[in-house]
Symmetry: D2
Subunit: 278 residues, 4 copies
Amino acid sequence: MNSSYIIKVDCTDRKGLVYKVSKILYKNGVNIITNREFVDLENRRFFFRAEVNGEVLEEDIKDELQKELGSEANIYISKRKRKNIVIFCTKEAHALGDILIKHYSNELNANILAVVSNYEILRALVEKFDIPYHFISHDTLSRTEHEEQILEVLKLYEIDYIVLAKYMRILTPNFVKNYKDRIINIHHSFLPAFIGANPYKQAYNRGVKIIGATAHIVNDDLDEGPIISQDIIRVDHTYSWKDMQLAGRNIEKSVLSNALALAFDDKIFINGNKTVIF
Amino acid sequence: MNSSYIIKVDCTDRKGLVYKVSKILYKNGVNIITNREFVDLENRRFFFRAEVNGEVLEEDIKDELQKELGSEANIYISKRKRKNIVIFCTKEAHALGDILIKHYSNELNANILAVVSNYEILRALVEKFDIPYHFISHDTLSRTEHEEQILEVLKLYEIDYIVLAKYMRILTPNFVKNYKDRIINIHHSFLPAFIGANPYKQAYNRGVKIIGATAHIVNDDLDEGPIISQDIIRVDHTYSWKDMQLAGRNIEKSVLSNALALAFDDKIFINGNKTVIF
Amino acid sequence: MNSSYIIKVDCTDRKGLVYKVSKILYKNGVNIITNREFVDLENRRFFFRAEVNGEVLEEDIKDELQKELGSEANIYISKRKRKNIVIFCTKEAHALGDILIKHYSNELNANILAVVSNYEILRALVEKFDIPYHFISHDTLSRTEHEEQILEVLKLYEIDYIVLAKYMRILTPNFVKNYKDRIINIHHSFLPAFIGANPYKQAYNRGVKIIGATAHIVNDDLDEGPIISQDIIRVDHTYSWKDMQLAGRNIEKSVLSNALALAFDDKIFINGNKTVIF
Amino acid sequence: MNSSYIIKVDCTDRKGLVYKVSKILYKNGVNIITNREFVDLENRRFFFRAEVNGEVLEEDIKDELQKELGSEANIYISKRKRKNIVIFCTKEAHALGDILIKHYSNELNANILAVVSNYEILRALVEKFDIPYHFISHDTLSRTEHEEQILEVLKLYEIDYIVLAKYMRILTPNFVKNYKDRIINIHHSFLPAFIGANPYKQAYNRGVKIIGATAHIVNDDLDEGPIISQDIIRVDHTYSWKDMQLAGRNIEKSVLSNALALAFDDKIFINGNKTVIF
């Protein structure tokens, strides 16, 4: 018997919140299968997530919680469901391909509505899986013009998350605000080391013994958004930067995959420039 | 502002437990700093742990919880405090030494009351730190006689946990039942691989590429108790079994250290032959 | 300037082997880009691998080395080239899919000649990539009859390696001897823990905190062949065995991928029941 | 039968070096137990290390090698022996304590000649192990004056390596040049992330999911010397920066310990701002 609803709450911390929230759920006949709670003592913020069963009257519970917790509280109640996503990519197939295979095997808790790319290169791969591929070249366009064309295409879809699967273009704040906290990027380094271009070359030049990858929520600052997931692999002096790149791809795709699983299961809270993950 | 009390509850699962427990805490003026909850759906068992603040009347709250949850519920309420431990060892200094240094640096949330060993070898090290050392040879003694002598010495101390820091003797069920769920062992393999004697030699002979260590609660079956913590390191064909042993010691001590931190912070529940760790 | 040839030698150890081997290479105008050497002191066996450049007259050098090192020496000299492989699978797409994507992206140092399966399930996926799919049902057949049908199909291909990408049938010694040391399997546990059926259920029941995967050369004993590569991920009490299975798949595919890269680059020696990997 | 001598060579790469080096060793009756070789193709530099047996006439072999390889070649031939080290520390006991315990257990391939500190705090710990402790306060002194006092003390000892075991002072280029390539530092972050002061606070503020430690050779630039070893551990939103610091200490000491083992076994080459490690 899996849970059928997810409830997420975050609000200013005060006394008795677990009691108050669980009381409202209990009174409404909701059965908590599992829950976690965390208080950021520094910022006095309370985070609560529960997987629940029962006949959940979403609007009623939301109203009661909002009344109890106040208008600044973020309250999310949703039936468990597959998320709808659009994937952005450029030229590399590994991260995209991993998602396509997971989707094909029904291991991705999401529907891939479409793939958007500034190159034609990955069309053949995507279309093997009968997924629409939108090629929107950035050639001859300003960044803003390019993004406007993309936004136009995205209007076709009801999107829960945009996944940047090695999309090698920087998004403007204007684009990002359209999908606030709903764009997930995989960066090919262990942030905050090697921000920016060609982190594998930077890592090679520095002679590191470990390379990594970071999945994060995209905000206005390049590679500075809240981190969801990170992982590393060991390298040594025999690795050229191309060897590091090749080896790093295995980590890039597994870190992104891990971050997507967390996002699609509603396990991530944004807490300023950080995440709280249950 | 750290929490001043720990509350742990486990009982048969039923509806509304988070509400009922948090209500009792709230009514008693207890403020939850952080809590976690888990339901083992297979065995229908509920686990709850909270770090709380406030004027906690331990006995009153315990009585109310027991009344609400029934007599089969395990309820633990304790002021945060350093645990009192006795360490058992044999000949190897690394795990013991690591605990001694942590204790010396005030990084171990415990008082070391004494060290017990079936050899004299480690006395000099222990006494450097002004800790009593009890040498109880097993020579000429049956296992039962040896353990009786140890139990006699242990009567001198009020012990929260016994830590087996590479103590190379098997404890009998009779000994174990005196300290049920309070004996923590470090086993020098990645259990359940390589149970029993000389796991590094076994690992070497099998040609594994990873070796590990496992910290677990001791119960009646050798190396079969609930696992608290595990970790691994990579090895390759250039490692002799002695190299594996030497490398493995770094993992043994860090895994044991990690397990002790969890135990001393009251973060471990026993769930049959497994642990629930918050 | 990459190396263009690989030279591998293993033979009984004796004095001066590095000198004798490197002399023959030098006299033949071969330039060593990189080499590694290892002596298994226990079994007195010498292993040597070099990546070299130059006008390599394969047969001449091989003859000279064999004459110098004796008839029991194994000598392998080959132009660097993509290996030819056949993949076996059953129902799960993740390991197969990962190889297909790597192949598609030109990141696999191999040509996939065909896929063989005892089910039809994965045909659609494989044929998206224009790779022949041989469905050979084991229904109504004895193990030997089934393998004979497979061997018949394999005759169509010149095969360097057979890759068992979650092929859930045990191969008989008779089958294995046809492709001695050239069958690579991914086992979904950290061997030698959890040999045999459903290792994730076994791991769940044991309450381990780490699960793993093992890639190995297949020999006559189930899950007992020389280990090439292993890796692990952390799990906790919240994982059902199905969660472990899902999480484990990420490790299965990365461990297999790593093992294939080593094999396809001729970096693996078989040393009894172990591997030497340079 | 372990090897009794270590031979290390690095020089400009050219054809036939393995042959030429191994020939000289062979002609001198030296038996290679194990050797590794690496060519940095980018910088055209050859690195060779062998563990050998036999009656090694160090000076003769060195002369022959130097004649063959030219004056720019670095040639190191040494009987295997315990290195002589001095440890620098400030206030934290964990890294120092780990080395002291390893030394006490005879697991450190080195003699600790003395400990130098700018505080008195760790004297009691060090003197438990009968090791001289030199307290050299930096109070009221310029950096240069302080270092001069330290250098004066160091003259008492024949030092192979200086180990900075959480020594929280920056060394000047003048000091460093006295012990070129022989000072090993442990930095409490995953370099190049979080260079400089309080990396744990930086890591906490950035919301990383992994923290690390880096052991490196000290050169003139703060935290910029050749990296020997790195490792990481996972953290999450529940960690305060003090929790990260506490958890990080386990990694700091194991990374330093690993780096020291490599250095004391003569396994490290300096290659510009990187290391080659066999």
